[in-house]
Symmetry: C2
Subunit: 232 residues, 2 copies
């Protein structure tokens, strides 16, 4: 069984024969490659082509593109939600907070698909959005607790985590295999900049709607190819 | 006259008629678009196609691709060298240093071609490399002076500027027009993290050769399209 089977975006459970399971796995692998290469705007037809099956087979396993997107990204969403839960469980909220950042940035460096979960929205995949929003609420709570300890600067905004992940992705993409750990130094500097007391004021955070639009337009990045299209 | 005419990578000066000048400008504009879209690996033939002239016309103005690359990027190289010179002239090296960062990151946000000058190498364009190396030496001198004031952390490495520009480009590319000033907040945080005394140790900087390889593989980024090819 693939991780997507466990989630409400997945098609209704039915007895599945093993060749159907194998097909499902092949479709998911192909979809991961196609979405990584062409963005979430890629069509079900191109996923079928990549898999080497007819489009009807794709639709039999995933009745909507939302269901397919959710299945492709759900394991990354699980990892993100787990990282937030672990951070919230830490007895010291500041250490939970920086531990989360290091974990999430490491996941982002290891897997460009994870970056999509962090910096994109999935407006057409409601269950995905719901789970991410729950994790996001957990982060907001963690940030509030970390501020209460006096270790996190008061003007830290949850959107700074989105910006951090965009910056991290820039380093990861630019350095690639040539300097695969360079992002760690940038993330360490960023974490130190978050520490209270603040060493100066900051330009205002982007407005929520603006950052949301930015996340909407950000396409999955895989290797060095990206396209601007978003889920249609 | 275009900026490229002043530099040693440009073809030997000859009396140029005004329609030839116009052609030269059109070729440069087309090359800027083609390199931005396809990377420095784009062929002279594709520049000719984009310009709408024969390839012989392109070679008459730019006898080698190195000469064309140098002409396309020389105005950005000028801006980079000017920013370094201005920073070195500042009576307070720390303020010169942070002023340089703000200027260079603003140029990077406004013009993706500028990012290429900062984070790529041009191994086949010797004069470009020479000018950039001179500007880089100026930066190393400025960093040394800023450390001497006690305001810049001792473990700051010149390569941290490259990483900063990679991070900034990540934010600029991800936010685009949706949140066009979001990078300012990230850069302000980074500058605060550079301030002495350091709030903690940092992971080691990437090795010089590793970062150089990363810069070699980084292709020009324009909008949301990039390709891995480098100058051939």
């Amino acid at each position: 069984m693939t991780p997507g089977d466990q989630h409400s975006d997945a098609p209704a459970a039915q007895p599945v024969r093993s060749d159907a399971e194998r097909n499902r796995g092949r479709i998911l692998a192909a979809a991961r490659a196609v979405f990584g290469r062409d963005g979430l705007g890629a069509s079900m037809a191109s996923v079928a082509r990549e898999t080497g099956v007819g489009i009807a087979t794709v639709f039999r396993h995933f009745p909507t593109k939302e269901a397919l997107v959710a299945a492709v990204f759900s394991d990354r969403m699980d990892a993100y939600a787990d990282a937030v839960a672990t951070a919230l469980d830490h007895p010291d909220p500041w250490h939970g907070f920086i531990g989360y950042i290091e974990t999430a940035c490491a996941m982002q460096a290891a897997d460009s698909g994870f970056a999509d979960v962090l910096t994109m929205t999935f407006p057409t995949a409601k269950a995905m959005e719901k789970r991410r929003n729950e994790a996001y609420e957990g982060m907001v709570e963690l940030i509030s607790r970390a501020k209460a300890t006096g270790r996190l600067r008061e003007d830290f905004d949850p959107s700074d985590l989105v910006l951090l992940h965009m910056a991290n992705l820039g380093v990861v993409n630019a350095c690639g295999d040539a300097a695969p750990d360079a992002w760690r130094r940038v993330v360490a500097l960023m974490i130190q900049s978050f520490e209270a007391p603040a060493r100066g004021t900051l330009p205002a955070s982007p407005e929520h709607d603006a950052l949301y639009r930015a996340m909407l337009r950000a396409a999955p990045v895989s290797g060095a190819t990206r396209k601007p299209e978003q889920s249609s």
